[in-house]
Amino acid sequence: MSDPIEMSQDTVVARATPEGEGGLAVVRLSGPEAMAIAARVFRGPGFGGGSGAGPVARRAVYGIFHEPIDAQVVEDGALAVIDEILALPLPGPHSYTGEDTVEFFCHGGRQVAALVVRACQAAGAVAAPPGEFTRRAFLNGRLTLDQAEAVADLIQAGSEQAARAAVAQLRGGLDAELGAVEWPLLDLLVRLEGSLEFSDDDDTAAVPAAEVRLTLEEARDGIETLLALAPAGRLLREGIHVVLAGAPNAGKSSLFNRLVGGERALVDAEPGTTRDIVTAPVRRGGRLYVLHDTAGLRDTSHLVDGAGRVETMGIARTKETVAQADLVLLLAEAGAAGGQAWPELAAGEASMAPAATLRVLTKMDLAGGGRDRTGLAPAQVDEKAGKPIATSSLTGAGVDDLWAAIERQVEAWRLDEAVSLGVVLNERHRQRLLECRDELTQMLALYEGATPGDEVAGTLLASLLARLGEISGRVFTEQMLDGVFRRFCVGK
């Protein structure tokens, strides 16, 4: 990866509004050449061959967007017109990125926007990678780091829920939750320090060790709670990765198509149809799911031909995908007699989210004509795993049950809580909190043995608060002293 803070002199172009439905798309052109490039593709007041004085800053003008002058074959002086659109010139530094910028407002969504982007590229702009505008805005001092992070989350927000969480973070949800951890610690610090600074006075009794312990434990619990919300941050930002896995021909691709609501994956009676991972996003209940169809898992060592090799590679990919899944749907064909066994999955790598598994029976319409209502083959009975969800991709039976089960599982990750608290932890926050938690654990360990002196506890606590302050921005020395003076009546 390139150095994230390396300055690029390129002029970049990309859609600035999310890909998708909306009637209006904004294309942003940003960089030192923005005005010049715009003049090559746009003709309107202040632009192109129009009046000699350049564009008026911050005033949107209607005009004709066309293929670049030098790229098109000019016939009869005619321009290869793309559309009639609005252009907004924003000279730096008063633009989103802080650079010279022109924003084009295109009707007709996707189609026109794509043509506008292409034309700008043809006129000398470079396609902006995702997040580039925000990166430039940050480097040019237009956004705080926290804002940049929240905006980046918003840009990537695949779902309404993620967007709401990012907005809430801009409003400081994390701050409030951190405060709930910080203030009791500050109060404890006040009491410890009060007993140190004024030990000659009568009303500054030492703080009982049991109380110190209790406060530290509560703070640790508070941090644990915040950390428990950390997976939520990622799940909200990136979506929830759901992987379908099972033996060849188990009906993975068919169920995948059902869940996605379209014929995205190839289905065939031949086992081993799916070789590569097929991925599709699904928005549901305000959340973003990313579904992955995979190659069937089976022993391929006996296969020697080319097909075997490709299938082996496919299986390797399946395993990788499974390892990174948030939720694995383990599929097996129903059938009292001929049912497949559940495939064995190697334990996934430790990912931030607790990887969970749901067992799903497929092709229930074929299973034993109702003789056995569970559709389970003896080899599929697993007391610990509980009852699998029975489905049929042919009839659609059980698919809603499956969604319900998936949603129940996701509930357990407390995404809604994270959204309502406005707590979306990024990696930086998470690292700090982990350090603070470990710190608290070590302090508590001190209290297991001989109780450390107040001066030691106070010192450690102050440095802990300073670390929390690195997230919250609060500096506590003066507040602590203030608390001491408020609480303890002290002479000189």
């Binding site: 001092g141 780091l145 320090e193 140190l196 009303d203 450390p452 010192t459 000189k492």
Partner: protein, 663 residues
């Protein structure tokens, strides 16, 4: 040097001892070293400062050792890091001694007079240009404020006295204490003066304003003084000094103070009722006093109002001298009218017939908010002008003396083209003090507390010599005797540590054999016990210890030197684990202290910074990223922005671009 208070004394002595030719101008020679308030030196945090001043060659420790009448180690029930010495002074003896030392100092001339003007010449136009002034792209959020001026506009050239005399000086240190436009209040009665019986400094405030300084009004107060012979001490609880008093100074050789008692007395319902009934006559509550007073040293009326549910407050009766008839009532600072003060005092047991020799009063004065100085204590607007002491918004003799020493040393070093004193928060309370001064927005008189030091476990009284000794030697701050004692002590400490690390002992309670240094970390073991176990285990150890002690006694015969060194070794080992842990935790932040922030950054135009950060950074202009991070309201995100900005600026510079200042 302007002002012969505690700051001015240390500044003048340090500068003269470093070989500079100095003039101390002060209102009255007889007033040099006067203690206008509490007749005591030291206390929590403050005692640490006195020890540091002492190791750096200052006078305060020696003076109190010679003139103290009661010595106590505070916080003995707590850990060694927060123990601090405090002593009652015979304030007249202290003042006399300081006056003698100052007058006897070679290279230091003392002149009586009132300084009314700081003389300065404009810096040449080119070097005085304002960085950032060319910036037209700031977002306007802070318009109306002056552009950051990073180059001083003036260079100091001396001072002018009220009688018109001018005294030339390449460097000027101003330590005028509470005297600038000093105004005293007793009830509704107002008197002009910096403290009781003294004049005020009326001209200086205006002079400083003309040079571009912002001033701020602060307030402090002092309690009434009683006649000793009018008090019935039989009704009061005595508070004696320590049985085994310890001196402050490493250099004190003979120390056998004759100690006197202080006494405790509690206020009662009658006292409180009197105060409540007369609150409207207090200038503090009547709104006459505009200056901000210290929270930690509230007046008695403040205490009664703010802690309404407390039925009594503890007061200490402290003699102002061994044979002095004046008694200081610690805890009864007030500016209520004289008749209320009298009634208040007489409501106390044993004080029914007490006579008030002097009334308590509050004093308001102009101070110079300390964001206007560098960490050398040189001012930002006027090159060559240094500030030290209460004028910078601190309070307390020790805080003042500490700054005086730093200013004196730095002024001379700078004059000679040498680097200033390297002070850091991790090495000394002096470092904490100076860093706080240049970093914090101080709105009340600043007092030192041990909790201000994040390296508190390391910054102990007992290891001051180890922390600051090398600096004292390198800068030549100690005389021959001081150097000899310091070096002998360091050798003894090293020897003792080597001895403890070199013998293996078998803990009496069983368990595996450990080196004596490790054994000393057991909670129930002290140095004596560890040494005894070591000597028992290794026959050669006894001889080595004997030799070490012999060498120390020869160079530094005073027993307190050995006691201090041994305390250092013991406490250092006992705290060792915590200190190492703290050091690790703080190392990361200290790294940031090495990353300088250029003088000419225009924070106002960095709209990526939070509004609060922009505002504070613009005013305080931190020297390093670390200091920026300690400013309240500057967040990790803001630091990240600054880091990125610095890197970007480097890259742009490397590429030969503009100055990158227009982020």
């Amino acid at each position: 040097m302007v002002g012969g208070g505690h700051a001015g004394i240390e500044a003048a002595l340090a500068a003269a001892r470093l070989g500079a030719r100095c003039v101390l101008v002060t209102h009255a020679i007889s007033e040099i070293g006067r203690m206008p308030c509490n007749p005591a030196i030291g206390g929590l945090g403050k005692g640490h400062l006195v020890r540091e001043i002492d190791v750096l060659g200052g006078e305060m420790g020696l003076a109190i050792d010679a003139t103290g009448i009661q010595f106590r180690m505070l916080n003995t029930k707590k850990g060694p890091a927060v123990q601090s010495p405090r002593a009652q002074a015979d304030k007249h003896a202290y003042q006399r001694r300081m006056g003698e030392v100052v007058l006897a100092q070679a290279g230091l001339e003392v002149i009586e007079g009132d300084v009314v003007d700081i003389l300065a010449m404009p810096m040449d136009a080119a070097s005085a240009t304002c960085a950032g002034a060319s910036d037209g792209a700031s977002d306007g959020a802070l318009t109306g404020e002056a552009a950051p001026r990073t180059k001083p506009a003036w260079r100091v050239r001396g001072v002018r006295l009220a009688d018109g005399r001018e005294i030339a000086g390449a460097r000027v240190i101003l330590s005028s204490g509470t005297f600038m436009r000093g105004l005293m209040h007793v009830g509704a009665r107002q008197t002009i003066g910096g403290r009781e019986g003294a004049v005020s400094a009326e001209g200086l405030s205006e002079s400083l304003r003309r040079l571009g300084f912002t001033l701020r009004r602060l307030k402090t107060g002092t309690p009434p003084r009683l006649a000793r012979d009018s008090i019935d001490f039989t009704l009061l609880q005595p508070q004696p000094g320590d049985v085994d008093p310890q001196p402050f100074s490493l250099r004190t050789e003979v120390f056998a103070p004759r100690q006197v008692d202080c006494h405790q007395v509690w206020t009662n319902a009658t006292t409180h009722a009197l105060i409540r009934a007369n609150l409207d006559r207090s200038p503090l509550y009547g709104g006459t006093i505009e200056g901000q007073g210290p929270r930690y040293c509230p007046s008695i009326e403040d205490k009664v109002v703010r802690f309404a549910d407390k039925e009594r407050h503890l007061l200490f009766l402290e003699p102002e001298g061994r044979d002095d008839n004046e008694i200081y009532v610690n805890g009864l600072s007030t500016s209520l009218p004289a008749d209320v003060q009298e009634a208040m005092v007489r409501s106390l047991p044993g004080l029914e017939a007490a006579r008030l020799l002097r009334y308590g009063y509050a004093v308001e004065y102009d101070s110079v908010p300390s964001w206007q100085i560098h960490d050398t204590l040189e001012t930002k607007p006027v090159a060559g002008l240094y500030l030290a002491g209460q004028v910078l918004g601190t309070s307390g003799y020790e805080e003042a003396a500490a700054q005086g020493l730093v200013a004196g040393v730095n002024a001379v070093r700078e004059l000679g083209g040498h680097s200033p004193m390297p002070l850091s928060r991790g090495q000394s309370y002096l470092g904490v003090l100076v860093d706080d001064l240049v970093t914090k927005d101080i709105t009340e008189p600043y007092r030192m507390f041990t909790s201000r030091a994040e390296h508190r476990l390391h910054l102990r009284c007992d290891n001051t010599e180890e922390r600051l000794g090398p600096l004292a030697l390198e800068f030549g701050l100690l005389d021959a005797r001081g150097r000899r004692v310091l070096e002998a002590r360091a050798r003894y400490v090293d020897g003792l540590r080597a001895l403890l690390a070199g013998v293996t002992v078998r803990p009496p309670g069983g368990g595996p054999a450990v080196v004596a240094a490790q054994y000393l970390r057991f909670p129930e073991v002290n140095l004596e016990g560890a040494l005894a176990a070591g000597l028992a285990a290794d026959p050669g150890a006894e001889e080595r210890l004997h030799a070490l002690r012999g060498a120390l006694a020869e160079a530094a015969p005073a027993p307190h030197v050995r006691a201090g060194a041994e305390a250092q070794v013991e406490n250092g080992l006992k705290y060792g684990g915590y200190i190492a842990k703290q050091a690790r935790l703080l190392a990361q932040r200290d790294d940031l202290d090495l990353r300088a922030l250029p003088d000419d950054l225009d924070y106002k135009s960095m709209s990526a910074l939070s509004f609060e950060a922009r505002e504070k950074l613009t005013r305080i202009r931190p020297a390093t990223l670390g200091q920026a991070g300690r400013i309240d309201g500057v967040r990790a995100g803001d630091l990240a922005v600054l880091t990125v900005f610095l890197r970007k600026r480097r890259i742009v510079r490397r590429q030969g671009g503009g100055d990158g200042g227009d982020i």
